[in-house]
């Protein structure tokens, strides 16, 4: 669900790479070829990808929590089933993203431990609370909408396993986005109470959704290298503009007001002008100071620790089975 670099500092290129291999690699990437797990790749490329893919995987897993918060309270059976399926999809995305990252030489347990230790980042968006049912609509429509915009270009990212995972993920995300917009539509066509919830959710999620594209280009130190390596295909600001341009008419179509007084159609650019994101808030949330950051991490750590005995049991049982099989042969 998240693909922007959150480390905020330029990655040091410490390893001196073989210039011939590096040149050949750069040429392949420039030629839009896929790099596969067994191919030679520069260390910095491997590290950047591990960081980006694991961050993306963690975002899917932590992202199950804000929506999971409403599964048991979904307003009817259809919405409940859709929401369970959606949250389950996110778990599935996490699973194949972890698998894609594992092809780069890191284990899922290592990645999980890094997350729980606060060393790995995940999307800032999930550190905001889901207060009413309209938040489920807003997340699907805005958050998954932003995610799709980040992810569609990644279907052509240079690392094969990541690109292939993205193809499948994008298909599911577009269903998520539609169901979110449909929730908002139903609420805006509903009672004054429902409309109030929908507008309130819009007010709370709009700016965090714009933050999902990451810091502005002039403050995104790794963008240039990532573009060159085809790990990224469009800059943060380009994607953010695209999101505003597509989403604003959708909001207006159902009577929702975008909470930005500076938002205005610019006929000359053929795009909307919009206000400045509160980057101080963004960096605070990246630092782990989002409103429910502690709750989210606690929920993940609890699930992991409370489930340790189950994973241990499964491992022990599998080992017993394996040695019994060996003994029988």
């Amino acid at each position: 669900m998240y693909t922007t670099d959150l480390t905020g500092k330029k990655q040091a290129e410490t390893v001196a790479e073989d210039p011939k291999k590096l040149a050949a690699f750069e040429a392949r990437v420039a030629n839009d070829e896929f790099i596969e797990p067994k191919d030679w790749m520069p260390e910095a490329y491997r590290k950047t990808l591990i960081r980006q893919i694991s961050q993306h995987a963690h975002s899917e897993i932590v992202g199950m929590l804000p929506e999971g918060n409403w599964i048991t309270r979904a307003p009817n059976l259809r919405r409940k089933a859709i929401l369970i399926a959606k949250v389950q999809d996110e778990g599935g995305h996490g699973l194949y993203l972890y698998s894609a990252a594992e092809t780069l030489g890191i284990s899922r347990d290592e990645m999980t431990e890094a997350l729980h230790a606060g060393k790995a980042k995940y999307s800032t968006i999930f550190n905001y609370p889901t207060l009413t049912w309209a938040d489920i609509g807003a997340i699907g429509w805005l958050v998954d909408g932003a995610a799709i915009m980040n992810q569609v270009p990644l279907q052509r990212t240079s690392y094969g396993p990541y690109a292939r995972a993205m193809v499948r993920i994008c298909k599911e995300e577009s269903f998520h986005q539609r169901q979110g917009y449909e929730i908002m539509m139903a609420m805006m066509a509903g009672t004054p109470d429902q409309q109030r919830m929908a507008q309130d959710a819009m007010n709370r999620w709009w700016w965090p959704a714009l933050m999902m594209f990451g810091p502005p280009d002039d403050r995104s130190p790794n963008t240039e290298q990532s573009l060159r390596w085809r790990i990224k295909r469009e800059t943060n600001d380009e994607l953010r503009q695209k999101f505003v341009d597509i989403t604003t008419p959708q909001a207006e179509a159902i009577g929702l007001k975008v909470p930005d007084p500076a938002l205005k159609w610019n006929a000359k650019r053929g795009s909307y002008d919009f206000g400045e994101v509160d980057w101080e808030e963004f960096y605070a949330v990246v630092r782990g100071e989002g409103p429910v950051a502690k709750e989210r991490m606690q929920a993940r750590v609890n699930a992991w620790e409370d489930g340790a005995w189950v994973r241990d049991a499964a491992r022990a049982h599998a080992e017993k089975r394996a040695s019994a099989k060996v003994a029988a042969e």
Binding site: I61, M64, L65, G68, I71, T72, R73, A74, P75, N76, L77, R78, R79, K80, A81, I84, A85, V87, Q88, G91, G92, G94, L95, Y98, W133, I183, A186, M187, A189, G190, T191, D193, Q194, A299, N302, A303, D306, G307, A308, W309, V310, R311, D312, A313, A314, R315, A316, H317, K320
Partner: protein, 244 residues
């Protein structure tokens, strides 16, 4: 409500309440793969509930639809068995509940596929495949946990012990079941064989016989159901008449 409508309601309530319980795990399970499989089961059960409650509404006279039945009844009108409303507890409790129930539900649905009541047979034909997977999943975990570590074994024993008193209710026959033409009591020997086979593989003993706790079919539930419903029905109760 006539007997056939009540039959549909019972089937729907069992699936709904268990689906609701399982969905509480979403995002919190011991491993990602478990999270996905529990969500899968929850999704199947909510789907079954939608079909059976829809059928109950039709048979009743087309006044209440599946959502009205799910969201606008209070505890005493819920007809699910007590087993499915038991709290998730630790993973072993969730598995024990699923193990006892899904093995019953699979046998029940398999029988229903041959029902002379075509609508029941149709729903059961689809659902029996889903439930066979639930039963297999739960039975596999009973074996893993029973055989795994000392801790998992201790927890599995405690969980089976907790849930066991609610198993007799599954097989109680009354005039409602008779109207549907399914002999629940006759399912018991096959259920016993399945349970015993998995327990034997897990090297676990069958919990000692005890007096069964009953009342769910008559709306006499355990204390947890009211809490489950107040959470599930919150939006429909707070904003009556709203469309979502």
């Amino acid at each position: 409500m006539d007997a056939l409508a009540t039959s549909a309601l019972r089937l729907g309530d069992d699936s709904l309440v268990l689906g609701q319980r399982l969905s509480e795990w979403c995002g919190h399970a011991p491993a990602l793969e478990i999270d996905l499989s529990l969500a899968n089961c929850a999704l199947d059960l909510i789907g079954q509930a939608t079909h059976f409650l829809g059928l109950a509404g039709e048979l009743e006279g087309k006044v209440r639809d599946a959502d009205t039945l799910a969201y606008r009844r209070d505890v005493m009108d819920f007809t699910n068995c007590l087993l499915v409303e038991q709290q998730n507890g630790d993973f072993a409790h969730t598995i024990a509940r699923q193990f006892l129930f899904s093995n019953y539900q699979e046998l029940l649905f398999a029988g229903l596929t041959a029902s002379k009541h075509a609508r029941f047979a149709e729903i059961a034909a689809k659902a029996v495949k889903e439930v066979a997977y639930h039963a297999k999943l739960a039975s596999d975990w009973v074996v893993r946990l029973g055989d795994g570590t000392d801790e998992s074994r201790t927890r599995m024993i405690a969980a089976l012990d907790w849930m066991w008193r609610f198993s007799d209710e599954l097989f109680v026959m009354d005039e409602v079941d008779a109207a549907l033409g399914i002999d629940k009591a006759a399912l018991r020997p096959a259920w016993d064989r399945r349970i015993d086979a998995a327990l034997a593989e897990a090297a676990l003993e069958r919990p000692s016989p005890r007096r069964g706790v009953m009342g769910g079919r008559a709306g006499h539930h355990s204390e947890q159901l009211g809490h489950l419903l107040s959470e599930m029905q919150f939006l429909q109760r707070s904003y009556p008449g709203a469309t979502w």
